[in-house]
């Protein structure tokens, strides 16, 4: 599959948007503007961008605690995300959810989730709706390598396979669940092999190669719709920052982090590829500038917007 230039630039732009969004958050955090903690996906942008841009708006995703990239990838407005983290009325959840719980139903994002593996069973239910309603859409379920050791992972895969549900399970294997290296936590051959053991076709891909992610999700989506079978992708990637804001990175070496930053960075690699195929430096610069402007304006607008009013929260707890 060769992608046209527009698609390629769209993938690049999305990765830049995710990175700069999270770098802006880091900066806001260090200025003491944010209450609570957050989980950054810096270094993992190719998986979120490649997977989400392979979907239609009507396809759904379920996301994780490390979900800013998924959310932006599915079309969320950066301003409304910043506003959410700042507890503003214009935030996606009106300041009730925060970093770890943004949902954007209008763009097909069923929500980030603070519970590891919490969204796996939910994705099965959403896929069941699609099946019952005879819709030509899929649910893409994001989860981390840490989630595959929760019981609900196994229950979800088993049922999705038994019932032929249109789910694409996408494991972002960034090689650690907090401090636990995935090779010390996952018994058996690989994470992808767990999909196979439930009769679900599964592949492992380079999650830092944005086109590889885009292409695998595109072709698996088509196959899910034609064969009515769930699929499973293990995308291997790497997180640069600590697990959350309190991580001292004692469980890995700085050499390892540097290696991934220098040799495997998804954005750097893609810029190299684009320039090799003839995209001009000015074109890339133009994208860079427009994303920076978007981020700057969104932060400013969010900071200027009103705090979420204190309403009757007990009433708000029920529909």
């Amino acid at each position: 599959m060769t992608l046209n230039l527009d698609k390629q630039l769209e993938l690049h732009r999305m990765m830049m948007l995710i990175r700069l969004f999270e770098e802006a958050l880091e900066e806001m955090f260090s200025r003491g503007l944010l209450h609570g903690t957050m989980h950054l996906s810096i270094g993992q942008e190719a998986t979120a961008a490649g997977a989400c841009l392979a979907l239609e708006k009507e396809d759904l995703i379920t996301s994780t605690h490390r979900g800013h990239g998924h959310c932006l990838g599915k079309g969320a407005d950066a301003f409304k995300m910043f506003a959410e983290l700042l507890g503003r009325e214009d935030g996606y959840c009106r300041g009730r959810g925060g970093s770890m719980h943004i949902a954007d139903l209008s763009n097909g994002n069923l929500g980030a989730n603070g519970i590891v593996a919490g969204s796996l069973t939910i994705s099965v239910g959403a896929a069941l709706s699609f099946q019952m309603q005879k819709k030509d859409n899929i649910v893409l379920c994001f989860f981390g390598d840490g989630a595959v050791n929760e019981g609900s992972f196994h229950e979800a895969l088993n049922l999705a396979s038994l019932w032929d549900l249109p789910v694409l399970f996408l494991c972002e294997n960034n090689q650690y669940g907090m401090s636990m290296a995935s090779d010390k936590a996952v018994a058996g051959e690989s994470i992808a092999s767990r999909g196979n053991s439930y009769g679900i076709e599964s592949i492992q891909i380079d999650g830092n190669d944005v086109e590889a992610v885009f292409e695998s999700v595109t072709s698996f989506k088509n196959e899910i719709l034609s064969s009515n079978r769930p699929k499973f992708i293990e995308a291997v990637t790497y997180r640069y920052r600590g697990h959350s804001k309190s991580d001292r990175n004692l469980y890995r070496t700085s050499d390892e982090i540097e290696y991934w930053k220098e040799e495997k960075d998804p954005i750097k690699r893609y810029i190299g590829k684009l320039m090799e195929s003839g995209v001009s430096e000015e074109k890339l610069k133009e994208i860079d500038t427009s994303v920076k402007e978007l981020i700057r304006d969104s932060v400013k607008k969010a900071l200027d917007s009103p705090l979420s009013p204190i309403t009757n929260l007990e009433e708000d707890s029920y529909a």
Binding site: G95, R96, M100, S152, M180, I310, L313
Partner: protein, 327 residues
Amino acid sequence: MPELTAGQSINKALSLILESNQTAFIAGEDIGIYGGAFGVTEGLLEKFGNERIKDTPISEDVIAGLAVGASMTGSRPIVEMQFSDFIVNAMDPIVNQAAKLHFMYGGAVNVPIVVRGASGAGTGAAAQHSQSLESWFCHVPGLKVVTPSNAQNAYDLLLRSYVDPNPVIFMEHKLIYKVKENVTLNPIPKDSSYLGKASVEQEGTDITIVSYSNMVNVVKEAVALDELQNFSIEIIDLQTVSPIDFETIKNSLIKTKKLLVCQEAPPNSSVGTTVISKVVESDLFNILEVAPKLISGLHSPMPSAKHLESTVIPQKEDILNAIQDML
């Protein structure tokens, strides 16, 4: 006498248990090299090795389940739920197994486990990482539920929980990890009788305030406000919310004849409602001068934004207002 946070004092208690009993071990997520999400197990891996400080995959169900099985067979497990919210992933081993086995098997087995975890709100961690679920476990016969409020009683209560032959749920409010105080490092007690005893933190004759966990500290802040300096207020820290020490509450109410209960958890079917119902069911009903009152968290999930979060959690001003109303 070292100055320690509750996280550090619990660390000392864990260390003492591990030194004194070779069958004791710890299991949980990120408790090894990371030292626990809140640093409670820092340094234990270096000291005791990975045979006894067992980092697990993210698998709460088996963390609690293995504790049950190990405790039935001569080991003394103390397991960590990184945030006590995740204990809901481990409900079967705790509620259907640990709590029942001693009774159901006619006393043939004991399940002496401690399941500890970080509870409570105030850190902006939002709805899935801020709950106070202690009353869920109070509802289950066979379990004991312990809720320390400071570094000293966290230390002492953890040792007591370990000595106790029953399964104990040990809820550590995140905010007590942030406060340092001098802690006496007592030896491991011979028996667990202190579990189930409340502590009278301040004596008084005008009103009794019953509280537990971090809310005890908020109550103390309220009681220290200028507006209340002319009143004599008794503060009781339950320490153990299952069982509840009614004897201490009763002795206090005989003096004060007024009862205010303060908790962070939502009100419905909670520790506070249990305290009040026991009091009004008893002879004390006749001596109460005003209706007992419960100050609790709102019946709402915890919002992430700071100004909304503090709307849900009782503040010292709420407690002040309630005291002034009742006096």
